[in-house]
């Protein structure tokens, strides 16, 4: 919403400066988005006359003009406008001037080899209108003698752009803004005693609102003005419209626009001679069509509110008029409409037809239903003044009578909610200034809500009005109390944060990617999960919710590899989805590593990252998070996006209840399919929600501290065992031979090949044996040794290697 201080002063008596106005508008909730100066350098823009034009030597479309700007020498200006002809009076901007539209500062420039001193401007460049074709053509009769003088005579006011919140339709009119300002103490609202038409002439055109279900129009006021002569608007009106960036068109259009901008009362003018047998306001029937003023043809569905005559639809009520009945410069008789359309109906129709107009914007927010006659009076009298003619009586058709809303307001509520204390008198004054009618009862105020405030319906709305107008800056800051009633994070959240940093501390860089993804990538990782489509995605590349943490991560892995970064470790912690219902999601950590370890190292041989790197990362993280390594169980059942032979599945206890993670090489087919170029790609997933949160605190989970100072003995064993036998089980078997004596079981070699049968492997193990309560002699050790060998051979079918 654009306004000027000058225009505000039509409604506001104030002696305050514009600087304060800007602050005050923002303070009362009418945020100033920008202040645009139409007149900043306006003294630089001169009325000028082209005295000679010549074709540009190097460009067919350009001309070199000699321009008289009232100085001794002619200015040489290069210009591309077709209408730049000798004798034309136009507007010249010298070097140094800032073009209002583009905000660019002119400099002396060479254009295709010819130096141009300044430029000749179009209306659009000067924000005079949207006209971009050609340069300004000033009427000779008027400007002949003004060559060399400033074009902008009076200091044009600044145009102030406000962001009006959708609950405040009343502030879509200058008067509404003035009212708010006055209530806040910024001047006094002028009385608006609009002159009345006071006509005795009959309104001869019949107007009917049909009574039907879903009728979107409840009041239709109108008057006829006959024998008008539509013309150019007077200067004051044109200036006013231009000052807020509107383009003047013709007096009748400009006047209806003016009334709309001034008091937020949209009007529509019909050429009365083009209306066949009166107006009928009714619901449309499916298939009806009309050509609107935007020159587009609209096909209607059932139940849209249309203004029609006997021939058909004339316009969409409150949204847009039609070409068939539009006013032209030669229009003689007009019908002026001032109506009330239901916001809901407007919204529905405009949405279905994908139409957005100024009138629609206002009606859907709610127009003052009591402004119908004011609007007609104001506009009709102005039309008569400018275009002549005879005004008829006003005719108002209505299907409903307006009933003002009232509320009971408890004055104490204000302080309770805002913490602000203001006097009863001040409260009364603010409300009165805002247009409320008050009736004082004991503890309550009975308030009649002004007809222009559809947003107000309950006491909290009144509190907001008072706080806003009195000023939020008056509210005293209450320091927060530093007291905690509940832990900040629960166990799950603590685990989340712990794991996030634990993974990062293993060298992974955290990424945050969209929760949605490309189904192409998602399909690679979704297995048998349900695809969850977004029905209105921004693009197909982000068309589905991710079923896996890998779908985006691998995409960005690839993107980074293509940037020629080879050794990457990326991770993300976030949601993946299993269904489209709230809650059908889980938190997952995914990590991917590519390339090599110790690439280009002078001291170590490089090697590719492998599954035991990621296995270490995930296991170490779990241990750090408090899970017991000896209980972690691993098998090799994994999803199809991992290498079937080089991937594992993790459980945090031997009971294998919930899968807490996977690790392994990414399936070579996937790497091939999405064309990832790297020596190696390995990854892991941790399903955070499947990690059991121990009930006990970590300090309570720990065993009693117990160490032994007796001699520890070490024995090495080598077993020949089935190639598929899991080393994890071998360790388990040995450890449980005598948990009191066996301190560690470490595999230090695995060998297949020469001297070992094809389906076997050799595993070399170091076992540490130590007692808590006595030194062990050879005999004791020999017993343990024998037990280990016997048990392993018996339980696994392995043979000790001699």
């Amino acid at each position: 919403m654009k306004i000027t201080f000058d225009w505000l002063k039509d409604h506001l008596n104030t002696s305050l400066k514009e600087k304060f106005l800007i602050d005050q508008l923002t303070n009362i909730g009418l945020e100033v988005e920008s202040v645009e100066s139409l007149s900043a350098d306006n003294k630089l823009f001169k009325v000028a006359k082209i005295t000679k034009t010549k074709k540009h030597p190097n460009a067919d479309r350009l001309k070199v003009c000699d321009v008289d700007v009232g100085e001794k020498d002619m200015k040489k200006v290069v210009c591309g406008a077709k209408n730049a002809t000798t004798g034309l009076i136009t507007i010249y901007a010298p070097p140094g001037a800032v073009i209002p539209k583009t905000k660019t500062k002119l400099v002396v420039a060479k254009i295709r080899g010819v130096t141009s001193y300044g430029m000749l401007c179009s209306e659009s460049e000067l924000n005079l209108s949207d006209e971009r074709e050609g340069i300004v053509e000033l009427p000779k009769s008027k400007y002949q003698k003004s060559v060399g003088k400033n074009y902008f005579q009076n200091n044009n006011p600044n145009s102030i752009d406000l962001s009006v919140t959708p609950n405040r339709p009343d502030c879509l009119g200058i008067r509404g803004i003035a009212r708010d300002l006055a209530a806040s103490g910024f001047g006094r609202l002028k009385n608006s005693k609009e002159k009345k038409i006071q006509s005795k002439i009959k309104h001869t055109l019949s107007v009917k609102i049909t009574k039907e279900k879903g009728q979107g129009c409840s009041v239709f006021g109108s008057c006829l003005i006959t024998n008008v002569k539509n013309t150019e608007s007077p200067k004051w009106l044109k200036d006013k419209l231009i000052s807020i960036g509107q383009k003047p068109i013709s007096a009748i259009v400009d006047i209806t626009n003016y009334v709309m901008l001034d008091i937020n009362r949209p009007l529509h003018a019909y050429d009365a001679d083009k209306i066949e047998k009166g107006i009928i306001v009714r619901n449309s029937k499916s298939g009806e069509q009309f050509t609107a003023l935007d020159n587009k043809n609209y096909k209607m569905e059932n139940g849209m509110c249309v203004i029609s005559d006997s021939k058909g639809v004339l316009g969409l009520g409150g949204i847009i008029g039609g070409t068939r009945s539009s006013t032209e410069l030669d229009t003689k008789n007009i019908l002026l409409e001032s109506a009330y359309f239901e916001p809901k109906s407007i919204r529905k129709t405009a949405k279905k037809l994908n139409l957005d107009t100024d009138a629609k914007f206002r009606f859907e927010r709610g127009i003052d239903p009591l402004s119908i006659e004011d609007g007609l009076n104001k506009a009709a009298l102005l039309i008569k003044e400018v275009c002549g003619g005879v005004i008829s009586k006003i005719d108002v058709q209505r299907t409903e009578k307006f009933k003002a809303k009232t509320i009971k307001f408890d004055l104490n509520l204000f302080e309770k909610v805002t913490g602000l204390v203001i006097s009863r008198n001040k409260i009364l004054k603010i409300l009165e200034d805002l247009g409320f009618k008050l009736k004082k009862e004991k503890r309550y105020l009975k308030l009649t809500i002004p007809s222009w405030r559809p947003d107000i319906s309950q006491p909290i709305d009144i509190i907001e009005e008072l706080a806003r107008i009195h000023g939020y800056d008056q509210i005293k800051t209450i320091e927060p109390i530093k007291k905690r009633h509940k832990p900040t994070l629960n166990k799950t959240q603590k685990l989340f944060h712990f794991l996030q940093r634990a993974i990062a501390s293993k060298g992974y860089v955290e990424a945050i990617t969209w929760s949605f993804t490309d189904s192409k990538y998602n399909n690679l990782f979704k297995e048998n999960k349900k695809e969850i489509k977004i029905i209105n995605p921004l693009s197909s590349e982000i068309g589905v919710l991710r079923n896996s943490i890998f779908s985006n991560l691998i995409f960005y892995m690839r993107k980074n590899l293509n940037r020629d970064i080879k050794d990457l470790s990326l991770f993300e912690i976030g949601p993946i989805f299993s269904g489209s219902n709230p809650g059908e999601q889980e938190t997952v950590i995914g990590g991917l590593r590519s390339g090599k370890i110790s690439r280009l190292s002078w001291i170590e041989d490089d090697r590719i990252v492998d599954i035991f790197d990621v296995k270490k990362d995930i296991i170490q993280t779990l241990i750090e998070a408090g899970y017991d390594r000896s209980k972690i169980y691993i098998d090799d059942t994994t999803p199809n996006y991992y290498h079937p032979g080089k991937s594992g599945r993790i459980f945090i206890n031997n009971e294998k209840d919930k899968i807490v993670g996977y690790f392994g090489e990414i399936h070579p087919n996937i790497i091939k399919k999405i064309e990832i170029k790297t020596e190696s790609l390995v990854g892991f997933e941790i399903f955070v929600d499947n990690l059991k949160r121990p009930k006990k605190l970590l300090r309570d989970q720990k065993k009693v501290y117990q160490v032994s100072d007796f001699q520890k003995s070490e024995r090495d064993f080598a077993f020949i065992i089935d190639r598929n036998f899991k080393s994890q089980e071998l360790i388990e078997i040995i450890s449980s031979v005598n948990p009191n004596l066996i301190r560690n079981v470490d595999i230090f070699d695995v060998y297949e090949g020469e001297n070992i049968p094809v389906d076997k492997k050799s595993i070399a193990i170091n076992v540490g044996i130590q007692s808590l309560d006595k030194p062990l002699n050879d005999e004791d050790l020999e017993k343990v040794n024998k037990l280990i060998i016997d048990t392993v051979e018996k339980e696994t079918g392995a043979k000790i290697r001699s």
Partner: protein, 355 residues
């Protein structure tokens, strides 16, 4: 001169000359070997008269100790100097690079969430979360958003069904609703998380992060709201003074509503928060609308309080001088390494939010 004395003097002088290890060992054998001079003298003791024996033995032991100690220290000296000689040859170029380091990083958004949680923790807020997929009721209706509100449009919200019942939450405010429906007042929570809007350009991303705050109790008024946000902003930007402006605005779920601007200036191309006369909008807030309380069965006659919503990404951008929102989610390894945080840098109250 007795034999002993002779042996002593001879060997002492030999041992004092410059010798290598083998020469010392040679002398050691000559003295203490099987047929060594000293060994022989000990063997002689038995043949010496009883009256002489004691004196002789004392003398012999004294000389033995003297020579033995000298040999030990001589050997020690030689070994040290030999090691020193050897070490001189082992000198390496210590300026060669260390073994390769890989350093992980925490994303600036995650870091900022931790900072925010840490600040609000101090003044008694706890962290709540909710699902990314929400139903229409929690995201809009319960929050007093009218049926026709533009936010419900297809071009603002991502929907998962044609009936527009399931959607990706457009703010973290539905966590308010969930918290209030499932618990009893008072409430004092923040809810950070992912949020989604059908919007994508230089300054908007289809996914972004928000932290919602809610404080409901019997006597919580706008003064508390101001105090809370003033505290937060000051702590977050780690400045002593902050210029803040509460400006009336409109949201369906709060009333009175406000937008909060903070004062800033641009100095040497960088933004300085808390000074200057430029205003920057950073959050929306207000007193929770009585309709919202009614919708979650909290009695607005008994309870009232405030709520706020802050864009986390935007806060991170301001604090850490990041100027492109899109880069947050583009996963450029170089960007993540540049703007990311060391995992050991956990924001805490006692150690400070940032280094």
């Amino acid at each position: 001169m007795s034999d002993l004395k002779k042996i002593r003097d001879e060997f002492l002088s030999k041992l004092r000359s410059k010798l290598d290890l083998s020469q010392v060992n040679q002398l050691k054998t000559e003295l203490f070997g099987k047929d060594g001079l000293i060994t022989k003298q000990f063997k002689k003791i038995g043949s010496i008269s009883v009256s002489e024996r004691k004196k002789y033995a004392t003398e012999l032991n004294k000389i033995k100790d003297e020579l033995q100690n000298l040999i030990i220290s001589k050997i020690g000296e030689i070994e040290i100097s030999e090691v020193n000689e050897k070490l001189k040859k082992e000198k390496i170029d210590v300026s060669l690079p260390e073994r390769s380091i890989i350093r992980g990083k925490i994303h600036p958004v995650s870091q900022t969430i931790d900072e925010i949680s840490s600040i609000f923790s101090e003044i008694g807020f706890s962290v709540e979360e909710g699902p990314d997929v929400e139903n229409e009721f929690n995201n809009f209706t319960a929050l007093n958003t009218p049926d026709h509100h533009p936010a419900r449009d297809m071009h603002d919200t991502f929907y998962l069904d044609e009936k527009k019942q399931k959607l990706l939450r457009t703010h973290t405010s539905p966590v308010q609703i969930r918290t209030m429906i499932n618990n009893k007042p008072p409430f004092k929570i923040i809810a950070p998380g992912r949020t989604y809007r059908s919007d994508s350009d230089q300054t908007h991303a289809p996914m972004f992060h928000q932290v919602e705050g809610l404080h409901i109790d019997k006597e919580i008024n706008m003064g508390h709201l101001k105090g809370c946000l003033n505290y937060f902003i000051k702590e977050f930007f780690e400045v002593d003074k902050i210029k803040m402006r509460f400006r009336p605005s409109h949201f369906p779920f709060t009333e009175p509503s406000a937008e909060v601007d903070i004062g800033y200036k641009i100095k040497d191309g960088k933004i300085v928060i808390g000074e200057g006369d430029q205003w920057l909008e950073i959050l929306g807030c207000g007193m929770v609308h009585p309709n919202v309380l009614k919708n979650v069965r909290v009695d607005p006659a008994k309870y009232q309080g405030y709520a706020f919503g802050i864009g986390i990404d935007r806060l991170a951008m301001l604090k850490y001088g990041i100027n492109d929102l899109r880069a947050f989610f583009d996963c450029d390894y170089r960007w993540l390494n540049h703007f990311g945080f060391d995992p050991l840098d956990v924001p805490t109250n006692y150690r400070g939010l940032s280094r």
